[in-house]
Amino acid sequence: MANLLELRKVTKRFGGLVAVNQVDFTLEPGRIVSIIGPNGAGKTTLFNLITGIYKPDEGEILFEGRSLVGLRPDQVTARGISRTFQNIRLFGNMTVMENILVGMHTRFRASPVDILFQTPRFRGEERELREEALRLIRFVGLRASPDELAKNLPYGEQRKVEIARALAARPKLILLDEPTAGMNPQETAETTRLIRRLRDELGITVILIEHQMRVVMGISERVTVLDYGEKIAEGSPEEVRRNPRVIEAYLGRGVAIGAIA
C-alpha cells in the first residue's frame, strides 16, 4: 500500500540541540500508530515539523507523495492534516460552535456580500456547516451547549472540542498530542474509544503522542519510540515493550524487563 505519510532522514536543530535527528517514519493509510518517548525526546517537535510550524533542517516530509516542506501551517491543514495540542489551545473566548467553524475556515466559500444580503448561497452554506458542526459535537460525545464559551467547559469537554475542531477540516490524517493527559481512567477509556472510532467510522489515519502506556498498548498497531531526538525502536506494542533499549530509555539502566508494562 502507498504511504500516506513518509519522513526521510528528518533533522531539526535548535542551536546546538538536535531535537529530531535523522528520523525515518512511514505510515500507511488507515492505521493508528503511537509515538512515545521520555520528556524532551522530540515527539512534539516531530508534530511541529509535520504541520509546518518548524521547517526541517534536513530531510524530506511527504504526504500522499507530495512534499510538505516549506508549506505554511494553514497550507498543510488544507492538504488534509489536523492536530490537537498537548496543552489545550482552544479559542477560549469563542463559543464551541465558533471554534469548530474556525476549523472549517478553509471550506467556506460565501463572500461577505453573500452574508450581508443573506443570499441562498450563504444560507445554504452556513446551515450546512453548522449542521456538520453539530454532527461533530455529537460524534465526539460533547455534553455542553454549542453556545457555551470554550473557556467555561470542564477539561475533558475541552479535549473533545479540540478533537471536533480538528475534524472540522475533514482531515485524512489527525495528529493527537497527548489526548488523555490529565484525564481520569473513565475519561481515558472514553477518549480511547473515540480515537478508535475516528479510524473505524471516519476512516482517518491517526498518529498519537501518548504517555499512558495503557492507551498506547491498547489501541496502537505500531509504536515508534524516540529518545534524544532519535528513533530507537519501532514495532508492535509487544515488540516495543520487550525492547531493552526502550526500557533503558524510560527507566535507566539495570531495571528489570517488563517494568513498563
Binding site: 505554511r72 494553514d74 491543514t77 489551545r89 474556525v102 478553509t106 452574508i115 452556513e126 472540522a168
Partner: protein, 382 residues
C-alpha cells in the same frame, strides 16, 4: 431553524452593536453631563450676560454634548485602527495617525479635482464627499497594507520595540513625503477642503426656555453627515468582525496565532486584511475630519492620532467595543472641558487647557482600571 440562524447572525452583528453604541453615548452624556451640572450647582455664581453659571451650563449643555459626540465618533473610528492591529499583532502602529492624514489629503485632492460648485445641490455635494470618503478608504487601506508589508512584516520575529521604532520612522516618512509632494505640486503643504454653505448651515433641532431666555439647539448639516457616516462604518465593522468568516478568522488570530494557522487560517493574509480594514477606517475618518475642520496639513494626524490611541487604551486596548466607548468618552470629556473650563475657573484656564484636563481624567481612570474601561478582553480582540 434556517431562518432563525441567519436572523440571529444579523441581529447579533448589526442590531446589538448599534444598541450598544447608543447606550455608550447615553451613559457618557448622562454621567459627564450630570457631573458638570452638579459642579455648576455647587459653584453657582453670576457670570457674564446676566446669567448664573448653572443657567449658562443648562443653556449650552445640549449643544456642547453634540459637538463632543462628533469628536468622539471620529476618535472612535481612528481608535479602531490601533486596537485591531494591537489585537492581531500586540503592536502599537504609531504610523496609523499618518494613514489618517494621508486619507485626509486623498479626500481633499479628490474634492478639489471634482470641483463641485459651492452652490451645487445638496445631493451632488453629498455624492462628492462620499466619493472622497471612498477614495480615502481605498488609498489609506492600501497604504496601510504596504506599510505592513514593507516596515512591519520583515520585523515580525524581532523584539517588540523594534517594529515600534519602525512605525515611528514610517510616521516621519509619510509626513515628509506628503509635505514634499504637496509642496512640489502646490507650492504650499497645506490644503483647504472646499466649503459649502449648504453644509455649514445650522439646522435647528429643538428650542426651549431657560430662566426666561430662549435657547436654540442647533446642529450643522455636515455634522449630521459625519455622525451618520460614522454610525454606518462602526456598525459595518462590527458586522464584519462578528458575522463573517473573515471576522471569525481575525478573532482566532488575535487569540492564538499559531493555533489559528493550524486550523487552516492564512495568518499573513488575515494580518494584511486587518491593516486594510483599519487603514480604510482611518482614511475615511481623515476625510470626514477634513470636511469638518476645512484646512489640513501633513502634521494634522498627530494630535487626533495620539488622542485616538488614548481612547483605545481608555476603552481597553485590543477591544473593539472598548475603542468605540473610549473614543466617545474622550470626545465628550474634551468637548465639555473645552466649553466650560473658562467659565468654571473664572477665566483662569481657557479652552486651550482642555487636553490637560481630559488627560488628567484619563490618568485617573487608568489608575483605577489599568486595563481600560472594558478591560483587555481577548475575546473582543481583533
Amino acid at each position: 431553524m434556517r431562518k432563525a440562524i441567519s436572523q440571529s447572525v444579523l441581529y447579533q452583528a448589526l442590531v446589538v452593536p448599534l444598541i450598544q453604541l447608543f447606550v455608550f453615548v447615553a451613559i457618557s452624556l448622562v454621567v459627564i453631563g450630570s457631573v458638570v451640572l452638579i459642579l455648576a450647582a455647587l459653584f453657582n455664581r453670576p457670570v457674564a450676560g446676566g446669567m448664573t453659571l448653572l443657567q449658562f451650563v443648562i443653556r449650552t449643555l445640549p449643544q456642547v454634548a453634540i459637538d463632543g459626540l462628533v469628536i468622539g465618533f471620529l476618535y472612535a473610528m481612528i481608535a479602531l485602527g490601533y486596537t485591531m492591529v494591537y489585537g492581531v499583532l500586540q503592536f502599537i502602529n504609531f504610523a496609523h495617525s499618518e494613514i489618517f492624514m494621508v486619507g485626509a489629503f486623498i479626500g481633499v485632492e479628490l474634492m478639489l479635482a471634482l470641483a463641485i460648485p459651492s452652490t451645487a445641490p445638496l445631493m451632488l455635494i453629498m455624492a462628492g464627499i462620499l466619493l472622497a470618503v471612498a477614495g480615502g478608504m481605498i488609498g489609506s487601506g492600501l497604504l496601510a497594507v504596504v506599510v505592513e508589508r514593507v516596515a512591519y512584516r520583515p520585523l515580525r520575529g524581532a523584539p517588540r520595540l523594534v517594529p515600534l521604532i519602525s512605525a515611528i520612522g514610517v510616521s516621519f516618512f509619510l509626513q515628509d513625503a506628503v509635505r514634499a509632494i504637496e509642496g512640489l505640486l502646490n507650492n504650499a503643504f497645506y490644503r483647504n477642503y472646499p466649503s459649502f454653505p449648504v453644509l455649514n448651515q445650522q439646522i435647528p433641532l429643538a428650542s426651549f426656555t431657560v430662566a426666561g431666555q430662549p435657547v436654540q439647539m442647533q446642529i450643522q448639516a455636515k455634522v449630521i453627515f459625519i455622525i451618520i457616516a460614522s454610525l454606518v462604518m462602526l456598525s459595518g465593522l462590527n458586522f464584519v468582525v462578528n458575522a463573517t468568516r473573515l471576522g471569525r478568522a481575525i478573532r482566532a488570530v488575535a487569540q492564538d496565532r499559531p493555533t489559528a494557522a493550524l486550523m487552516g487560517v492564512d495568518v499573513d493574509r488575515i494580518i494584511m486584511l486587518t491593516f486594510l480594514i483599519g487603514g480604510a477606517l482611518g482614511g475615511a475618518t481623515g476625510v470626514l475630519f477634513g470636511v469638518r475642520v476645512g484646512r489640513i496639513d501633513p502634521y494634522v494626524g498627530f494630535i487626533p492620532g495620539i488622542k485616538a490611541f488614548t481612547a483605545a487604551v481608555l476603552g481597553g486596548i485590543g477591544n473593539i467595543t472598548g475603542a468605540m466607548l473610549g473614543g466617545i468618552v474622550l470626545g465628550v470629556l474634551e468637548g465639555f472641558a473645552g466649553a466650560y473650563l473658562s467659565q468654571f475657573t473664572g477665566g483662569a484656564f481657557g479652552a486651550e487647557y482642555k487636553d490637560i484636563f481630559a488627560f488628567a481624567i484619563l490618568i485617573l481612570i487608568l489608575m483605577f482600571r489599568p486595563t481600560g474601561l472594558l478591560g483587555e478582553m481577548v475575546g473582543q480582540r481583533a
